[in-house]
Amino acid sequence: MSDMTAIQGTQNSGLTQPIYLDYQATTPCDPRVVEAMLPYFTERFGNPHSRNHYYGWEAEEAVEKAREEIATIIGADPKEIVFTSGATESNNLALKGVAYFYREKKNHIVTVVTEHKCVLDSCRHLEQDGFQVTYLPVQKNGLIRLDELEAAITDKTVMVSVMAVNNEIGVIQPLAEIGAICRKKGVFFHTDGAQAVGKIPLDVNAMNIDLMSISAHKIYGPKGIGALYVRRRPRVRLQSLIDGGGQERGMRSGTLATPLCVGFGEACRIAREEMPAEAKRLTALRERLLKGVRERLPEVYLNGDAELRIPGNLNISFAFVEGEGLMMGVKDIAVSSGSACTSASLEPSYVLRALGLDAEMAHTSLRIGIGRFTTEKEIDYAIGHIVEAVSRLRELSPLWEMHQEGIDIKSIQWADH
């Protein structure tokens, strides 16, 4: 618990470093969530599927209460919530599950080039198994074009999968409009809501969403649990990925982890209740950071739409400074270059490339995630720290020097290596 206390401590004492600014990778568990989970970690340890004794009933009741909270935050019915081990499993289950169930009739899926890796990899898996997949491009702001989506849907299309909010650039896709098109065309609409739930208002009925993947650890809940919303009317059917005891109405077998379910439910409750005020607070912090950096540094570019993005995300390219070197320079703040899953690799982010950024610009970006425990003091510290590191690295950068001398870097014949 010491790290947690440290994060809490920043609010009333001095700053503890490094400052966590990577809320899209994962979020610290809210102490209220931990509190709710505690009894189920210890004395209330029953298996919620044990129907023969009190231990089991007690666990089942807690799980069902959590299921209700998760349903409420997206306007669904609790019966439509399937617990999984996380958003990766939810996305795998949604894509493979629906595709395989309806494969006799339909064999085409429409998705987007900037989806999370687990959606893209699931699609690749389906392609190897004979399915057709259309990968829609995005505009410079990261959003898809609705006319392109509509044109991509054929009578063989079973499902459209478009993420609600992108994990790297935080842009919000036009969900209601996409839902309307899907409903009109009679295809299922799946959305990866891992980065959206609890951050922006969502309503599966108003938005005509048929399946939605949710992650607990992105909203201050525990790791190791997520959910898939599966619409009952009109009914969406899917082939299960993990079969066995037949839990979760046959869609996902395996003993449910009661403490994780409880923590997930509590995380949803808090997020729902605090969303309006928190969105305002985070938007103000985000704008403060962006303004602060831009006032003191030239050649700073925001990636992704400036307006249609979640309050807690910034993705900034610092031209002429390499991202990994910059990461090392901003060691007092924990941020990421690219997504957490891929930032250990040397490839520039495929999401940034999809926006039309050239590789060199994609190499100079930082993702800064602001969240529940971020304070204004921390933002101000981060501004100074980033400005200092970028300035220092630009002094070191031959590209910055050329830019200062008026040389167009693109005009140089660079060797491959």
Binding site: L38, H49, R51, H53, T88, N91, D121, H125, D243
Partner: protein
């Protein structure tokens, strides 16, 4: 509900060990994603790798062969769909997570509850296509331990791979993946006093090729995508550590279980201990009193605060008779069988509690039966 007198359903789930819940809670205070490269991410990664080494040590395995999953069910699914084998053979008494993982052929068991090795050999020889064979180390309902070394020997002779569901065995008896000779082995943390929501698949050859079940970020050596369940994994590691620190736990459990069975047999002279003729886990007692409904027994025991179960927890809400007992040819006993399972926190007084409740139930039911006959 009044306070609970005795929890004797360890094969469904075990109470979480204090060291495991503490480790899980500590891990919950680490706000990083193990895939992140910054200090928080590295701290999280450190916890995952430490737990991986402990879990590997418990099974005498190579840490690189440990793939953390969301539990035993996923571990079984990953192995059974992941091994590149077109043919799949499983014993008839496997857990549903094995039997339903993919279509395949089943191999029966003898009345003792032990796999019919001759039938396995015939099945292996019937087709030249090399198979994947799944046989559990110990059955969840009866505790009967399977002759894995023999299974492996037969499988190898026919070029087959062997997956072993060791979910029930680990923590109750010592398991060594190398000695068993299997290719993969499934584990669940909550069965050994770790948290729920986490398990592992162990590969004997850490470099073996396995098709992933969950595609995505490429975690767990590209074999299992998804952000690691950090608290769960840390708790799993702590529970594994606690198991390794135990001395003669199997002997202690066997003494408790044997006393329970002996005394229960004296209370109910017609008591049948299912699987008693075979090697069994030291903690499991599958008991049936002919003519007495298991549901009636369960309800009475529950009212007395004693938690036991029928069959596996996953299916105990259903009315279908246990596929395990049916496979053993014990159809007539299937409706009477209750499972009493002990574990790390079980003590003499739990056994006493059970015996007190069981004894009075048997007496009452005996009276009830006579009245029923008169009516």
């Amino acid at each position: 509900m009044t306070s609970l007198a005795a929890y004797l359903d360890y094969n469904a789930t075990a109470p979480v060990r204090a060291c495991a819940s503490e480790a899980a809670l500590r891990a919950m205070g680490v706000p990083g994603n193990p895939s992140s490269v910054h200090a928080f991410g590295r701290a999280a990664r450190g916890l995952v790798e430490e737990a991986r080494e402990t879990v590997a040590a418990l099974l005498e395995a190579d840490p690189r062969g440990v793939i953390f999953t969301s539990g035993g069910t996923e571990a079984n699914a990953l192995a059974i769909t992941g091994w590149n084998r077109r043919r799949f053979l499983a014993s008839a008494i496997e857990h549903p997570s094995v039997l339903k993982a993919r279509p395949g052929e089943t191999v029966g068991v003898l009345r003792s509850g032990v796999i019919d090795l001759a039938a396995l050999e015939r099945a292996l020889a019937a087709d030249s296509e090399p198979a994947l064979v799944a046989v559990m180390l110990a059955n969840n309902e009866t505790g009967v331990v399977q002759p894995i070394a023999e299974v492996v020997r037969l499988a190898r002779a026919h070029g087959a791979l062997v997956h072993c569901d060791a979910v029930q065995a680990v923590g109750k008896t010592s398991v060594d993946i190398g000695a068993l000779g299997v290719d993969s082995l499934a584990l669940s943390a909550h069965k050994l006093g770790g948290p729920t929501g986490v398990g592992a698949l162990l590969l004997a050859d850490p470099d073996a090729e396995l098709r992933p079940l969950l595609a995505g970020g490429g975690q767990e050596g590209r074999r299992r995508s998804g952000t690691e369940n950090l608290p769960g994994i840390a708790g799993f590691g702590a529970a594994a550590q606690a198991v390794m620190a135990e001395t003669d736990e199997a002997g202690r459990l066997a003494r408790l279980r044997d006393r329970l069975e002996k005394a229960a047999g004296e209370q109910a002279p017609g008591l049948v201990v299912i699987g008693a003729g075979a090697p069994r886990l030291p903690n499991t007692a599958c008991l049936a009193v002919r003519g007495v409904s298991a549901q009636t027994l369960l309800m009475g025991l529950d009212l007395a605060g004693v938690a036991v179960s029928t069959g596996s927890a996953c299916s105990s809400g259903k009315v279908a008779p246990s596929h395990v007992l049916t496979a053993m040819g014990e159809d007539d006993l299937a409706g009477s069988a209750i499972r009493v399972s002990l574990g790390w926190a079980s003590e003499e007084q739990d056994v006493d509690c059970f015996l007190e409740a069981f004894g009075s139930m048997i007496q009452r039911l005996g009276a009830g039966d006579r009245q029923a006959r008169v009516a």
